[in-house]
């Protein structure tokens, strides 16, 4: 990367810079013309005279040239061209020209600014892209020294102002310098004494400012460093939030942060102070100009050596000079700033051992597969403190073998795995797979033929399926078809990407390498994905995600259709009385005793926040409906009964008692209030309740589930009236509430509810032993008869796993990473304690599954328990960075070997 910002700018935007400079140059004559017009308007247009040079003989006999005023005899032609005008028209024509000039000048400026913006943004995009690409090319040890926070801060914040500077880098000095020279030139012509007087102090500025600026630059450098450290601290806090809370470290973190902020505060304050000192000096010197004009110029006017129009023009020109001069000084400051920032950033992105760009981008001409042997010879690796990690490791093994790497932590086992996966490069020695030297291969070979999973795999913030198929997306393989406006959009995307030196690969294209997964199409891929999930034992979890997943029935009509079929099929199964007791289905014409009153009233799934099932009583429309069917007072009285029961049951329990939280539908905090209400009013005085008290009581029965609470409050008399309310609710739903509820319809898919609820279309009954499990099994049965189990798992693949997979358990993340490594069908699977965090039965299942699935291919597994090695064809035992034993389990499992010692130590 270019070490200097100017060479970076010239290399990638010299054409744009030329255009910008040209625009700036074109700008100049028109600026000049503007000054001339001003003078002409004042002198000729308004005052009606013209200055003519005249030879004047002075008292001492010398002849000097002097301009004298000569009255114009109107009508007169403007600039001596075209028709002649009276003085007033003449003035207006001049002003008209002045206006046209302003328009033209501003037009050029606008064009210049827009083009500057485009250039700046493209260069910024290019710079950020280049930096990010470099992050991908960092050798692994670099990440030990560079924190995530620093990298983010550099690529996002620090380079931001550089874009602006790129736009003005050459054009601004040319334009402002040009304007200044023009103005100066004009003044020199008009009156060289005045001109010199106006700029007399500029050299002083020219000398002092850079000296002052140097201080600011140094401070700026320091500020950048400190802000990076601040970012690092923030990143560390986010990552280590558990440890901070677990050890009450918040104060220490806050104090550390405060200390860093303090440092930045003083640096920034210093910068401010120095910047304003510079500004002060600048402004002061600038203001000395008018002092000169009014004194010397005024004197000359009084003496008659200078006419007022020229003085005005000179003052106006001085003002014009002042503006570009200020701009130039500002530019000087910005370029100093940009130069430092650029150098500081680029320095960080050029670590030793940066990968070749080719390694990331190039594709092999012919597909490479690893067959034959894996060979390591003389691998030597030292860490950043020069400790030996791997010491002359050499071996040759057939690639259809399953190899166990056995060794304690620090034995070099993990590092050897990483070297074999080419995640770290050895200091010396070579690794070959099937005769291909690993160090010479591009990632398009190593990353496709080798899978690597360690014990803390990373999961991306995408859907589960996208994570699963991550290892199959290397580049767009089938272009997306675009038409009309979409095509234009795509074309401009490509040309913009190219203009900024960015990759123009289409994210909308199909990137999936179906051949690599050994499947013909998307459907096959999903199958293969689910197979891989089965191998690692994640299939059941994904099925559960699917049951809890929602789909859009319009775009996924096939799934919705299958679900509705399952719902119907369940009907038949529920004719069996032993199963019928498990589910109470939703029926528009009957009250569901396993659902709350709120659910019964709404008879649908709320969409958005309009209707909150927990606070339904507060909604005005609900109140309106209850009023309409004449239930308001009945609801209040039901609430009174419920409150009475709750108070009776729970009032002498301590408020933090578990039973409270588990069973009461009134919180412990609300109990005293209800107690108060019960004491204040008798059952017959309910119509004298205040509105808020009425609401308080009325909200209670909404939570009642007859089958669960068994309070006898919702009886045969209440139910039919509530059904009436249900009808009234749906029937009169005002337009603005339409769509706030997805109503239950036995024949329709409910998009707001999840798949399980759509199939069940009812509530699991209370009081039936193991109802949850039995209903689950029943659903599974029904779905497998209809052949839609896999469909549900496919919906499960759309589960969003959250940042870093935070919505998955640790075990699920580990299994997902293993499945991801399997589904791309590598020739070599390298694992480092990849099942260590799982329970024993999962470990055994995955070991079996992987050994079976990789029949004829290679697995190199750094096992966490030496005893696991028994299942492998060949074992390498490592100690102190060396291979101390190598052979089959039968050969090594003898008295006195390191392996048998380790197994014994583990068993003890």
């Amino acid at each position: 990367m270019e070490r200097n910002i100017f060479s970076f700018i010239l290399k990638y935007s010299y054409r744009q810079q030329i255009v910008l400079v040209l625009l700036a140059v074109i700008n100049m004559p028109f600026t000049m013309l503007g000054y001339q017009l001003v003078e002409k308007i004042v002198n000729e247009g308004i005052q009606g005279f013209r200055k003519v040079p005249e030879q004047v003989t002075q008292d001492d006999g010398s002849i000097i040239e002097k301009s004298v005023k000569m009255m114009i005899e109107f009508p007169e032609a403007v600039f001596g061209i075209g028709p002649e005008f009276d003085q007033v028209i003449f003035l207006f024509v001049l002003v008209g020209l002045f206006l046209a000039n302003i328009l033209l000048l501003q037009g050029i400026k606008y064009a210049l600014n827009v083009y500057r913006g485009v250039t700046a943004e493209r260069m910024l995009r290019r710079l950020r892209y280049a930096l990010f690409q470099r992050v991908l090319r960092f050798p692994k040890p670099t990440f030990k020294k560079t924190s995530q926070g620093e990298v983010i801060s550099m690529i996002t914040g620090e380079v931001e102002p550089l874009g602006g500077f790129v736009g003005e880098c050459f054009s601004l000095p040319v334009m402002q310098g040009g304007i200044m020279l023009m103005s100066l030139g004009y003044m020199l012509i008009a009156d060289w004494k005045l001109a010199l007087a106006a700029v007399a102090l500029y050299p002083i500025q020219f000398y002092i400012i850079p000296k002052l600026q140097k201080r600011v630059n140094l401070l700026g450098k320091e500020r950048v460093k400190r802000v990076r450290k601040l970012s690092e601290k923030i990143g560390e806090t986010v990552t280590g939030i558990n440890e901070i809370h677990a050890h009450d470290g918040s104060n220490l973190e806050l104090a550390t942060f405060s200390e860093r902020l303090n440092g930045i505060y003083y640096i920034r304050l210093q910068i401010y102070i120095w910047k304003f000192i510079i500004k002060f000096v600048n402004n002061f010197i600038q203001q000395l100009g008018p002092v000169m004009f009014y004194s010397i110029g005024g004197y000359l006017v009084i003496k008659g050596d200078l006419d007022l129009g020229t003085l005005f023009a000179a003052i106006s020109a001085h003002k014009e000079i002042g503006a570009p001069w200020k701009e130039l000084l500002g530019y000087y400051q910005r370029q100093a700033d940009a130069r430092i920032k650029y150098e500081q950033v680029v320095e960080q992105f050029a670590p030793a051992g940066l990968f070749d760009e080719e390694r990331l981008m190039s594709e092999p001409e012919t597909p490479v597969t690893f067959e034959g042997n894996v060979n390591a010879s003389g691998i030597i690796l030292t860490d950043d403190q020069n400790n030996s990690v791997l010491d002359s490791v050499s071996f040759t093994l057939a690639l259809d073998q399953k190899v166990a790497l056995v060794g304690a932590g620090g034995s070099g086992r993990d590092e050897l795995s990483e070297v074999l996966a080419r995640l770290i490069e050895p200091d010396r020695g070579t690794v070959t797979f099937g005769g291909h030297d690993l160090s010479a291969l591009p990632e398009s070979v190593t990353g496709r033929r080798i899978s690597y999973v360690d014990n803390a795999p990373f999961v991306f913030n995408k859907t589960l399926g996208e994570n699963l198929f991550y290892g199959l997306k290397h580049r767009p393989l089938k272009d997306a078809e675009y038409e009309g406006d979409r095509k234009k959009e795509r074309d401009s995307y490509v040309s913009e990407a190219k203009a900024s030196g960015n990759l123009d690969f289409d994210l909308g294209a199909d990137w999936v390498d179906y051949d690599a997964a050994g499947v013909p199409d998307t459907a096959g891929l999903r199958q293969a994905g689910i197979e891989a999930l089965k191998i690692v034992g994640l299939d059941e979890d994904v099925y559960q995600f699917g049951l809890r997943g929602r789909i859009n029935p319009e775009t996924r009509a096939d799934i919705a259709d299958g679900v509705l079929k399952a719902r119907k099929a369940l009907d038949e199964r529920l004719t069996d009385p032993s199963l019928a007791v498990l589910i109470e289905r939703l029926d528009p014409n009957s009250y569901n005793t396993n659902a709350s009153l709120a659910e019964n009233l709404l008879f649908g799934t709320p969409v958005g926040d309009t209707f909150d099932l927990d606070r339904l009583a507060e909604h005005p429309y609900i109140q309106e409906v209850l009023e309409k069917v004449g239930m308001t007072s009945q609801m209040v009285s039901m609430g009174y009964q419920a409150a009475a029961t709750m108070v009776e049951l729970f009032s002498d329990l301590p408020p933090d008692h578990e039973l409270f939280q588990q069973f009461s539908f009134v919180s412990a905090d609300d109990l005293p209030e209800l107690q108060g209400l019960l004491a204040q009013y008798t059952k017959d005085q309910l119509d004298t309740l205040k509105p808020h008290e009425q609401l308080r009581l009325m909200s209670l029965p909404f939570k009642l589930i007859p089958a669960r609470h068994r309070l006898g409050i919702i009886d045969d008399e209440v139910m039919p009236r509530l059904l009436e309310a249900r009808k009234a609710f749906a029937g009169n739903l005002p337009d603005n509430l339409q769509g706030a509820v997805a109503f239950f319809d036995p024949d329709e898919y409910n998009a707001a509810a999840n798949i399980q609820d759509n199939i069940l279309f009812g509530k699991i009954a209370y009081g039936q032993a193991q109802a949850q499990e039995r209903v689950g099994a029943l659903m599974r049965e029904v779905m497998s008869e209809l052949g839609i189990i896999e469909t549900v798992s496919e919906v499960g693949l759309e589960f969003e796993v959250g940042i870093g997979g935070s919505r998955l358990t640790g075990a699920q993340r580990q299994k997902l990473a293993l499945a991801r490594a399997v589904v791309k069908r590598p020739d070599v699977l390298i694992l480092t304690e990849a099942t260590a965090s799982l329970d024993t039965s999962s470990q055994a299942r995955i070991l079996d599954g992987l050994l079976g699935a990789f029949e004829g291919r290679s697995i190199i597994w750094g096992v966490h328990r030496p005893a696991m090695a028994e299942r492998f064809d060949h074992i390498l035992v490592m100690k102190g960075g060396r291979i101390v034993e190598s052979g089959s389990f039968a050969e090594l499992n003898k008295e006195g070997t390191a392996l048998s010692e380790m197994i014994a130590a583990e068993a003890a």
Partner: protein, 157 residues
């Protein structure tokens, strides 16, 4: 069945006879009524347990897994309880309970159980009485088994 009816039902169970009305109501409200179809296993020997059961209706078999297969060792009827050992001693279930007819039980969680026994000594006595009775029966069975074994060994030698 409403809460009040349930309270009446509980009152008929000897163990709960002395418990006051409001506490019985709390018990009925917070404990789960669970129905099991005939043949369904209520709890499995060897599994951890977190609750005890009172039979409200129906019969159940107590089955112990022996090396040569499961053996039904006792029967449980209405008003009897089971599952208390697992929650008293924090050990896995000592036997499998299987519904013989359609079985309706009241499931009392560990927390609720401890609360009840600490508040109602009468209930504790009832439970102790039952456990003592079972111990007595088990001791008799053991005696019988020993005698049988001795006889067999005597016949051998």
């Amino acid at each position: 069945m409403s809460l009040n009816e349930e309270v009446e039902l509980l009152r008929q169970i000897p163990m709960f006879q002395k418990v006051e009305q409001s506490k019985l109501k709390l018990l009925a409200f917070t404990s789960e009524r669970l129905s099991f179809p005939a043949g369904q296993v209520v709890c499995e020997q060897g599994e951890p347990g977190d609750s005890m059961y009172v039979i409200v209706q129906g019969d159940a078999d107590v089955i112990v897994n022996l090396p040569n297969g499961p053996l039904t060792v006792a029967a449980l009827h209405k008003n009897s309880f089971f599952g208390e050992i697992a929650i008293l001693c924090d050990i896995p279930r000592t036997a499998t309970i299987k519904a013989k007819t359609e079985l309706v039980t009241l499931r009392i969680t560990k927390d609720l159980f401890y609360r009840l026994v600490s508040e109602f000594p009468q209930m504790t006595i009832e439970i102790m009485r039952e456990i003592a009775f079972r111990l007595d029966r088990t001791t008799q069975d053991l005696q019988q088994a020993r005698n049988d074994l001795n006889k067999l060994q005597g016949a051998d030698s």
